[in-house]
């Protein structure tokens, strides 16, 4: 038992806790920027995924002995483009995506000379970009399920009331879809909280990075990582409560009592 207390040095764990807590704001900045953008973009991408819109790109070509320019219509359907994007992002680990953006984009000369470099040279903005790209792919797939699960009669009744397409989106499709996908999207939010720890591998000092630094300094791995783990658990607890509150708010018909 004495041995156990030597391993889990109380004094060290409190000191570590305070130090890791200073990294909490860096984790939160990542989330606060990437989650709202990701939410909006995944709604748009989900709509694109179910739309039947097809880009027609005219490609001019010449035939010898024929005096006019001919156009070959190159058809690109938006749904297929977006599903290819979702397929690639969901099939590769987030770590590869973060490294590709942080190390890969920086190695292209054109990117280094463009205005993008002001953002992409910072590990923070690389992390935000990678997290957003990742959450949009997962979120779009979740929202697509919600949009497709709306029964046809509800859309028809909206049409009978003379709703425009935009009104139909705002008043019928989005409220019902968001209500249906809230549990799944809550899972995705928790996965995003956990995913922020990977940005520490690109030298961005958030909670995991600080815990790693403490470990390297004091060589006491257990205390450092337990301190970070408790903070992550707390963040995830808050996220769960937030999703629960949203579910309560958007499902007034399921409440047991008012």
């Amino acid at each position: 038992m004495e041995n156990f207390f030597i391993i889990l040095n109380e004094y060290l764990i409190i000191k570590n806790f305070i130090e890791v807590f200073k990294g909490l704001d860096n984790t939160l900045y990542l989330l606060l920027i990437s989650l709202p953008i990701g939410f909006v973009l995944s709604l748009i991408f989900a709509l694109g995924r179910v739309s039947k819109f097809v880009f027609k790109i005219p490609i001019p070509y010449f035939i010898i002995y024929y005096p006019f320019i001919n156009f070959f219509l190159f058809k690109v359907s938006i749904a297929k483009l977006i599903s290819a994007y979702i397929f690639v992002i969901r099939g590769t680990p987030l770590l590869v995506q973060i490294y590709l953006i942080y190390f890969g984009l920086g190695s292209i000369k054109g990117v280094r000379e463009s205005f993008l470099w002001y953002l992409l040279k910072e590990p923070f903005w690389c992390g935000v970009l990678a997290l957003t790209i990742n959450t949009v792919a997962y979120g779009a797939e979740i929202f697509r399920g919600g949009i497709q699960s709306i029964s046809k009669s509800q859309i028809e009744s909206g049409q009978a009331l003379g709703f425009s397409k935009f009104m139909m989106m705002r008043k019928i499709i989005f409220p019902i879809a968001i209500r249906k996908v809230l549990p799944a999207y809550g899972n995705e939010l928790i996965l995003m909280v956990k995913a922020t720890s990977l940005v520490s591998l690109t030298t961005y000092m958030e909670m995991t990075g600080i815990a790693r630094r403490i470990m390297a300094k004091t060589f006491a791995p257990v205390e450092a990582f337990i301190a970070a783990g408790i903070l992550y658990l707390f963040l995830n607890f808050l996220m769960v409560q937030f999703v629960k509150y949203l579910e309560w708010k958007y499902n007034p018909h399921l409440r047991l009592s008012n």
Binding site: G91, T92, P93, Q97, F103, P221, V222, F225, Y232
Partner: protein, 234 residues
């Protein structure tokens, strides 16, 4: 930008190294998936048995490991695992220095993570079985072991397969994280190669394509398994 000539087979390129890295990734994910399934079965047993203590322990384990980033779990097991193993060895009277290799540590860490997901899938599959079937088997005079093997297991497999396929994909992608322990799998190999050749884009895209290949084909494999196991219902 993308240097295809660096990916050739042999000493001049990195083709064969990437093949071995892929084999290593597959090995780690299969081993940790297997170990994770064993852990998950124990966890499910702890959750459904009529004992408050085991249920509390199992719930604590799944909640904590699922609420903490995977990277943190891997760091904790990688840096803290050795001292735990040495502490256990000390109880048995061995005072030397023990160092687990990266493959073992990575496998255990990923297994710990994947077991939490698998246990939820298996528990849901178990709960979806009609209680009447167990009663019918009891009425037929089967003992508990044969009820488990002949009645429960085939149905649990059928119900759990889609979920297990998802867990497999998550596990496969999580193995990229154990590159931080120095185990040479796809991710680590691509970092090494890009540091040597000063061309991160080439090798990171290679890594992404390899992961995409693995996830796609294992997904197809699980689809086939699903069709196979639900033959009696179609």
């Amino acid at each position: 930008m993308f240097k295809f000539d660096k990916l050739i087979w042999g000493d001049l390129g990195w083709g064969d190294e990437f093949l071995w890295a892929t084999v290593m990734t597959l090995t780690v994910s299969i081993l940790s998936m297997g170990l994770g399934m064993c852990l998950a079965i124990i966890t499910v047993w702890a959750k459904i048995v009529q004992s408050k203590i085991t249920r509390l322990i199992a719930n604590f384990y799944t909640t904590v490991v699922r609420g903490v980033p995977e990277l943190l779990v891997i760091y904790l097991i990688f840096f803290g695992g050795n001292s735990v193993v040495m502490g256990i060895a000390k109880i048995f009277g061995y005072n030397g220095y023990i160092e687990l290799n990266a493959l073992t540590i990575g496998t255990i860490a990923i297994a710990f993570i994947s077991a939490t997901y698998s246990s939820e899938v298996l528990r849901a599959a178990y709960l979806s079985i009609n209680k009447g079937q167990i009663e019918a088997a009891k009425a037929l005079g089967l003992n508990r072991f044969s009820i488990f093997i002949r009645v429960l297991t085939p149905q649990i497999i059928r119900h759990a397969l889609p979920g297990i396929g998802n867990v497999w994909q998550i596990t496969l992608k999580d193995t990229s994280l154990i590159s931080v322990t120095g185990l040479v799998e796809i991710m680590r190999q691509s970092r090494i190669a890009s540091n040597v050749e000063h061309s991160p884009l080439t090798f990171l895209i290679t890594a992404a394509v390899l992961y995409l290949f693995l996830t796609t084909f294992s997904g197809k494999f699980f689809k086939i398994l699903e069709v196979n196991y639900s033959k009696g219902y179609n």
